[in-house]
């Protein structure tokens, strides 16, 4: 049993919902392969991958913030409206007062922060449930969008459009690929290897048995393989296209927030508040401050997502942000977060969001109508969470066992002495459980 958990942990990282994440990653791979075959290879073309990233990056950015909100035990229904409101404010400011676009972005983030402070105040310091505060916010800021924009569309200047529709520029010699993207890929590979090395070192320092070398090998091979593949795809798109700027913003945010939630005191506090607010408070966690910051952060990210969408659409319109909150919430739950809070990871939510995005994209490539797409997405959400609930009831994630068993046998056959620790810990556990 412990060998299986070992493999999960070692192959897919993270601490909590490993099984869940493994399940989601397999689902993602399955969806990609399915559509890759079904669409005759269109899914993994450069053009399509680039389009998917720029199309869904704003939803994934929302999912980052939403994950933290949901982990803390709240929900935010207002993100779409906040995004739309920020979009129109920024667009109007740039159009009517002709402020330069970098200032426009700063203004947008500021608007997000102010809105977030407003919502955070009600949630954290007054104690109104976030569901209500953000439901109110949803109406408030949607109305605000229409009031300011007169329900009209307002175009944004060219420079601004880059954050949503721009790509890494072409520099350096003609390699047949986008050079900056190649560089980025190289950095990613180095980063992965370095991280793996550091993780092994950490395990050794803990006196814990580091993962067997072959596991590390597979893990690195898989990850580097994926990165190389993605790099070549993104670097090999039509000239002028490469990794979208919005994709780079997304990657930076994912890395930063993953690190924050996993490794810092602030991140720990969010999980503590969501897991048991009273216990967290009695352990010295400043409950109100955590709740305030989580809500505020969400609105800032929503503002950013709104600006990216506006940039990509070249204009801010009255329909911006409609039902984005639902997409973001769905991504988080598909990614394994618990409805009651306290559980979930950024990477899980991103995978969840990608599952939805690729599903959407694949079905559209197949020419399936948006009505059917919605039905299918609804079912996927329901089944993903139902499967989660079911496997939790069963106590074990059976797919994991099935997938890991061959490895386990392999190990037993090949290693000279039987894995003694495994049996020891098993009996230990039995005693504790009994």
């Amino acid at each position: 049993m412990s060998r299986i958990t070992d493999l999960q942990k070692n192959l897919f990282g993270g601490t909590t919902s490993n099984a869940r994440q493994f399940g989601m990653i397999s689902t993602l791979v399955a969806i990609v392969l399915l559509f890759q075959i079904w669409t005759g290879g269109l899914t993994l073309t450069s053009g399509n991958l680039i389009a998917v990233v720029s199309q869904y990056s704003y939803i994934l950015i929302l999912a980052i913030g939403m994950l933290m909100v949901i982990v803390a035990g709240h929900i935010d229904l207002s993100v779409g409206s906040v995004a739309a409101f920020t979009g129109i404010v920024v667009a109007k400011a740039m159009q009517e007062y002709s402020i330069p676009w970098p200032l426009g972005i700063v203004l947008g983030l500021l608007v997000g922060a102010v809105i977030g402070a407003w919502q955070g105040f009600w949630v954290a310091y007054v104690g109104v449930p976030a569901f209500i505060v953000t439901l109110a916010g949803m109406l408030l800021f949607r109305g605000g969008n229409q009031y300011i924009g007169n329900a009209d569309t307002v175009p944004v200047p060219l420079g601004f459009r880059d954050i949503g529709a721009g790509f890494l520029p072409e520099v350096g010699p003609d390699t047949g690929y986008n050079n900056l993207t190649l560089l980025l890929g190289l950095l990613a590979c180095l980063g992965v290897v370095a991280r793996e090395f550091k993780a092994r070192q950490t395990r050794r320092e803990m006196n814990a048995d580091a993962a067997p070398l072959w596991v590390t090998g597979i893990r690195l091979a898989v990850m580097v393989g994926v990165i190389v593949f993605a790099t070549l795809r993104f670097a090999g798109g039509r000239i002028g296209t490469s990794v979208p700027i919005s994709g780079i913003i997304l990657i930076v945010l994912v890395l930063a927030y993953s690190y924050y939630t996993r490794n810092t005191i602030g991140g720990r506090h969010i999980y503590a508040v969501g897991g048991n607010a009273r216990a967290a408070e009695l352990s010295g966690v400043k409950l109100k401050r955590v709740n305030f910051l989580v809500m505020m952060n969400m609105s800032v990210l929503a503002a950013l997502a709104g600006m990216i969408f506006v940039a990509r659409s070249a204009a801010s319109g009255p329909q911006d942000g409609l039902s984005w909150e639902l997409d973001a919430i769905a991504a988080v739950f598909i990614g394994g977060a618990a409805v009651s809070g306290g559980l979930g990871t950024i990477s899980g939510s991103i995978v969840g969001g990608l599952v939805m995005a690729l599903l959407n994209n694949g079905l559209q490539l197949e020419g399936v109508g948006s009505d059917m797409v919605q039905i299918i997405k609804g079912l996927v959400l329901l089944l993903a969470v139902a499967f989660d609930v079911y496997s939790k009831k069963q106590g074990r994630f059976s797919i994991i066992g099935a997938l890991a068993r061959p490895f386990q046998r392999d190990q037993a056959d090949t290693s000279a002495e039987p894995p003694k620790t495994a049996t020891d810990t098993d009996t230990d556990k039995a005693q504790v459980a009994g």
Binding site: T202, M206, N263, G275, N276, A433
Partner: protein, 515 residues
């Protein structure tokens, strides 16, 4: 002495869970009309045995026979066992807080007339049932408005509504105060006179000794022995010996106190109730703690001990009115939990699961949760140090777990309590306040926890122990304060402490002078 006829016989019951043998060849013989106690440490298999009996683990999932009233019975679910008159009352009460006593009594079993609920009959039957268990309340009172003790009675009355022949009580007095416990035990004796058989599972050995006719002791999923209380001259030590498999010379580890100067003092501590403005939960309390001293707080449930502790711990309860706290001669401000932690206070709450731990966390995360800054560099947690700290505590507190990466939810109550203790020891406190530190914990683990407390004071820390079990306070503490209705009513030293004296001070307001 002729033994009455046998009501229930469970023969060589064996029940295995994947990887664990919970029961191995267990036998149990219960005579008609007796009070039969089942004792054993946590994990000995008591609850599993009762789940087999009541059909929670259905027939076929175990081996062995159950003979009930002379027949070989096979229960496939709880309904089947209830129909046979076997009713089990769990530790966690199955009542709906927002419904009235009547509604709860007949939940799922409502008397009907022409398709709708016949509330008149229900009302009348409810009064009858409540009379049987000595519960004198308006049947329309909501469950949440009556105390735990009375809720327990409602649960028992519910059993009577189902025409009970064999009543099984799992830790019935764990959450009750002395008076309520006493009432419940009297009730059981009354049932015995009316010919109702009871099985009682309890950690409170003094109660078992007082009330049981027969005691069956389980250990590691096996029946160890069955004792006839009167004939065998059973006492607590005898039971403990059976449970732990060795003779316990003492229930408390040997300890020579090394008590120093007063370093912590509270004066005139007054706190208002959080919702009703005119109610005081602490009335001008004052007390002191010396270095190396274990100070006990005795009082009935609701006397205000927990409220006093929590309000001191960063004003986590009620509204502060007045009072001062001195540490090492200087006045300190404890306006928030971080303040309290910074000033070297630690509070281990009485309710581990609902406010002590985040049950989603693993062991190492829980242990460092109250002072993350100690293992962090520039607000970033260092996993190596975290792991090392957790390993140290796992070893020094002898926490039974294969790894500190396991979830706390998998641990037994005693081990969870050790994790909570580790969490607070990690904050380097000077004063630990332990609220009911051994509630719901088996004898062996209690002994270990007493040892931990003694080691803490040997390091020169002060420890406050709040407990409802007087023998525990008397055995462990160097000095005991008694609390009654929010006020400190007395101070008793180890030499003078005895249950009678404490009980008297816990129930009256004759205030003795406190320093």
């Amino acid at each position: 002495m002729t033994r009455p006829p046998t009501l229930l016989e469970m023969r060589s019951i064996t029940k295995t869970f994947p990887g664990v043998r919970a029961l191995a060849d267990v036998s149990l013989v219960v005579a008609e009309g007796e009070i039969h106690a089942i004792c054993g440490e946590n994990g000995a298999g008591k609850s599993t045995l009762m789940k087999v009996l009541s059909g929670v683990h259905p027939h076929g999932s175990y081996t062995g026979d159950i003979v009930y009233r002379g027949e070989n019975v096979q229960f496939h679910d709880i309904r089947a066992s209830e129909q046979a008159g076997i009713v089990i009352i769990h530790q966690e009460l199955a009542l709906v807080p927002g419904m009235s006593i009547t509604e709860n009594l007949f939940l799922g079993n409502e008397p009907r007339r022409r398709g709708s609920i016949d509330w008149k009959t229900a009302q009348r039957r409810a009064l009858e049932l409540m009379e049987q268990v000595g519960l004198h309340e308006d049947p329309d009172t909501l469950i949440k408005d009556i105390g735990v003790g009375k809720q327990q009675l409602v649960e028992i009355a519910k059993a009577f509504a189902k025409d009970v022949k064999l009543l099984i009580l799992d830790e019935p007095t764990a959450a009750l105060n002395e008076a309520d416990s006493q009432h419940l035990l009297d009730l059981l004796r009354g049932f015995r006179e009316r010919g109702i058989t009871s099985i009682i599972i309890s950690h409170k050995l003094n109660e078992i000794e007082a009330v049981a006719d027969t005691i069956t002791i389980l250990r590691d999923g096996r029946t160890i022995e069955s004792l006839d209380v009167r004939a065998d001259g059973v006492n607590e030590d005898r039971i403990v010996q059976g449970m732990v498999g060795r003779e316990l010379n003492s229930r408390f580890p040997d300890h020579t106190p090394d008590i120093g100067e007063v370093f912590f003092e509270v004066r005139d501590w007054t706190v208002k109730h959080p919702s009703s403005e005119d109610r005081l939960v602490c009335k001008g309390s004052g007390f002191t703690v010396r270095r190396g001293e274990i100070v006990g707080f005795a009082g009935l449930m609701g006397a205000g001990r927990t409220e006093l502790a929590m309000s001191l711990f960063g004003r986590s309860y009620g509204h502060y009115v007045s009072g001062q706290v001195f540490k090492d001669g200087r006045e300190i401000q404890l306006k928030s939990v971080p303040d309290a932690i910074r000033n070297g206070l630690a509070y281990v709450s009485e309710d581990r699961k609902s406010i002590g731990l985040n049950l989603l966390d693993d062991i190492k995360t829980s242990m460092v949760a109250a002072k993350l800054s100690k293992i962090a560099r520039r607000r970033v947690v260092d996993p190596v140090r975290e792991h090392r700290v957790a390993e140290e505590y796992r070893q020094s507190l002898r926490i039974k777990t294969p790894s500190v990466d396991e979830g706390v939810v998998k641990l037994s109550g005693g081990n969870q309590q050790k994790v909570v203790l580790a969490k607070w020891m990690f904050t380097d406190p000077d004063l630990l306040i332990l609220d009911e530190p051994t509630r719901g914990i088996d004898v062996g683990a209690k002994y270990e926890i007493y040892g931990i407390i003694q080691r803490l004071v040997d390091q020169g820390k002060g420890v406050i122990v709040i407990s409802s079990e007087l023998p525990e306070l008397i055995g462990l503490c160097d000095r005991i304060y008694t609390v009654f209705e929010g006020a400190i009513t007395g101070e008793v030293t180890r030499q003078d402490a005895n249950p009678e004296l404490l009980m008297k001070k816990m129930t009256s307001l004759t205030k003795t002078a406190t320093p």
